[in-house]
Symmetry: C2
Subunit: 335 residues, 2 copies
DNA sequence: CTGTTAGCGCGTTCAT
DNA sequence: ATGAACGCGCTAACAG
């Protein structure tokens, strides 16, 4: 691999001059630029990023921790971050947490050790304590999809409760009174917040609420199918179901189809996330929009600003979900 | 940021000793290990990756170029690569090509400049020439989902023709004789190969084949819907449709539903890829499995081996697709 | 077992 | 406008 030294020799100039033309310094003669450019091309010179990072104390790299890249939810997130990072000339180092505290911790450590000055972290398994510690160490660290009061200005999150409230309220407005809830069994904030939104909506509308209307499962298709099956087994007079997310809704749909219960004719269903699959389900799924791209963009920009030690004008970083009406919810009719 | 020098001072040893305990060198006394470890902890020392990379001439980083991370197909690919990379202690630098030659080229250059010694590249827009040049420059560069004869041992690809042949043949075996094809309008190898597989299967079974049975669209849901609509407009007596991929199949499904044509009762449909959405479609989509995880693993391992300048035992790197039978294809019946 | 030292490739003074 | 020289943080001889 050719170095500046080689290029300098080839161009009959000093390494300083080479460095200048590489970095487009104004103080470089036309002649020098010509000669050096030619030499670089001839030798196939590539600046050594490590050496650069070492001397300039900056890797120009943004690190990102997601749950699992193969989930399109995280895919969208990465894409949005990539867009803003690329625009700013930053590279992307990526790691998966796979919902394990150990893995999340290791990945964050890794990203820090690799010298990422900007960090967008999606961590559900680490404690607030631990994340706060990381945040204090790395000025450019931003948390996405999580809110920790002590470092509120470093968090970009969603109002989960409101989302679930919105969904349940929509069912209620459609005349449904017996509404079940398919809940995640993962012990994270989102689970509690979304469940709370469902309960709150019932209360605010003077509808009875009972634990028997709630079933739990893994936050995926299988979990949703299982939960729906269990819900059906109870023989409750349900006419609508709110769910933790679109995957569970998909599972519920399967269970209902297997039991010859038509959706939405005999059962309305509403999801959460408005993920990729929502529009492919049958019927197309009415759901709650999780504006993850927008949030990811915001998080990335915030991270870059913070890493740059610039002032950041305070702005709301709690996003609010909105309803996406499709075909899986219709008004309740007694017949 | 604390450096080895700081740690050395704190522990009352030389920087060499610090380096030794960091790298678990056998020649380091218990006492030294104790002292240095304590000092490192006290100072919150983190080894500087750039300095390390500079001196060791290795960044321990694997680069990967995908089309678009937000597509779960690429998500699965990245995940598989991440798994093998992590296991080998490599980090992941990622870039998106977004189906643009310019973007693909820039990203590859970027990954190389960042010092990735291993590279897994998914490029559909760059010419074979250009990719060959990159491959010659970087020993650890491996192409995925593309086959270039001149660098066959650097390619991990799928037998697209066979996949499409398999799909079409399956329809034929189910008694279908009037089979349409929904084709991509992207000008890449895959398009031609899959279309060729469809035509070949018809020929081999002495079935008539005609351009009128083929419609084109973008390789996504909208494109599939459009193509299906156009196909319907021709009034052909089709009883089955093979498609370029699952997304187009999903679009076709929508178009058919809008036109009250029941699937599979009155029209059988088969997809390609066995992507995430296949099992969520209604009816669940019969399709062709694209073993992308397996291929990505293979590509990552190959890349690492090559980057390590080890011998690589020749092995088949053209994967063969298989049928995934679900509910969107049933035997043809005249009524 | 430990310390001293050179140098990885590059950006950046400071002279000239 | 240009070049010589230093140092970024670390590893790897080498000498002790």
């Amino acid at each position: 691999m050719a170095t500046v030294k080689d290029v300098a020799k080839e161009a009959n100039v000093s390494i300083a001059t080479v460095s200048r033309v590489i970095n487009h310094s104004p103080k470089a003669s036309k002649a020098a630029i010509q000669a050096v450019t030619a030499a670089m091309k001839k030798l196939g010179y590539r600046p050594n990023a490590a050496a650069r990072a070492l001397v300039s104390q900056s890797t120009q790299t943004m690190g990102i921790l997601v749950g699992d890249v193969s989930d399109p939810f995280f895919g969208s997130m990465v894409k949005a971050i990539d867009t803003v990072a690329t625009k700013q000339g930053k590279h992307l180092l990526i790691g998966n947490g796979y919902h394990s505290a150990k893995k999340e911790r290791e990945t964050i450590e890794l990203l820090i050790n690799q010298g990422c000055e900007a960090l967008v972290i999606h961590s559900k398994s680490l404690t607030g304590q631990e994340l706060i510690a990381f945040a204090e160490e790395i000025p450019g660290l931003v948390l996405i999809n999580r809110f920790i009061p002590e470092i509120a200005n470093r968090c970009v999150a969603l109002d989960n409760l409101k989302g679930s409230y919105l969904a349940t309220e929509y069912l209620i407005k459609n005349g449904h009174k017996q509404i079940g809830y398919i809940c995640s069994n993962h012990d994270i904030e989102d689970t509690e917040q979304r469940k709370a939104g469902y309960l709150q909506a019932l209360k605010d509308n003077n509808l009875p609420h009972s634990e028997s209307h709630i079933e739990y499962g893994a936050p995926d298709e299988e979990g949703g199918e299982l939960a729906m099956t269990n819900l059906l087994a109870k023989g409750l007079p349900l006419t609508a179901i709110a769910t933790y997310n679109d995957y569970m809704a998909a599972g519920a749909l399967s269970a209902l189809e297997d039991n010859n219960i038509a959706v939405p004719a005999h059962m309305s269903i509403i999801g959460f996330d408005n993920g990729l699959i929502a529009k492919y389900l049958h019927p197309k799924l009415t759901t709650v929009r999780y504006p993850i791209q927008m949030m990811a963009e915001k998080a990335a920009m915030l991270s870059l600003t913070l890493a740059n030690k610039e002032e950041q004008k305070a702005a709301t970083m709690i996003f609010v979900p909105t309803l996406v009406k499709r075909l899986s919810v219709i008004p309740f009719s007694a017949n």
